[in-house]
């Protein structure tokens, strides 16, 4: 099963469950049915956005500089630049 298939099947399952609740096929207390169920998709979207932002911020917070790798990378870039120039390709 590919990743896309997995995601799509989970999404289909959740949407059918939600649709059943939304159309009133599941007995909920009146207050929940009226006030909470219609708002759930929006809550899910906002929470998903907040989760992504959290993950981003956490990654930025815990990202450490790697001076060794930086030096290595710069050297490799210079080497590639000279090799390409020898073959007639200009790089900025």
């Amino acid at each position: 099963m590919t990743r896309a298939q997995q995601h799509i099947s989970i999404a289909a399952l959740l949407s059918s469950i939600y649709l059943a609740c939304f159309m009133g096929f599941v007995p909920f207390p009146a207050k929940i049915q009226q006030d909470i169920i219609p708002v759930l998709p929006f809550w899910a979207i906002v929470s998903f956005g907040a989760y992504l932002l959290f993950k981003l911020g956490y990654g930025v917070l815990t990202f450490n500089d790697v001076p060794q790798a930086h030096k290595e990378l710069m050297a490799q870039i210079d080497q590639a630049r000279t090799e390409l120039k020898a073959k007639g390709v200009e790089v900025d």
Partner: protein
């Protein structure tokens, strides 16, 4: 170099705090407010209709921005392609 790392960490931390605040406020607003009758607590939250309107407006705005950026890039690239083709025809 160290100052940049500190600034990065601050940005990451700010994103983290923002994401958590948004999540907690929105969850309380949509899922908990219907059950709380206390007027003092209710005064912290706008009417619940806005809990749906604000995400929808933001989503539409975001979609419009992404769509216009995409179309701008595509138009620019097509124009460049047409200019190149015209130049080639002229050179012939």
């Amino acid at each position: 170099m160290a100052a940049n790392a500190l600034l990065d960490r601050l940005v990451g931390l700010a994103m983290l705090i923002l994401a958590s605040t948004v999540f907690l406020y929105y969850t309380t607003w949509t899922l908990l407010m219907p059950f709380i009758e206390d007027e003092f607590v209710q005064s912290f939250f706008p009417p619940r209709a806005w809990a749906v309107r604000i995400p929808v407006i933001l989503l539409l705005l975001g979609g419009a921005v992404v769509g216009s950026f995409l179309s701008l890039v595509m138009i620019r690239s097509n124009r460049k392609k047409a200019a190149k083709a015209a130049q080639k025809a002229k050179a012939k």
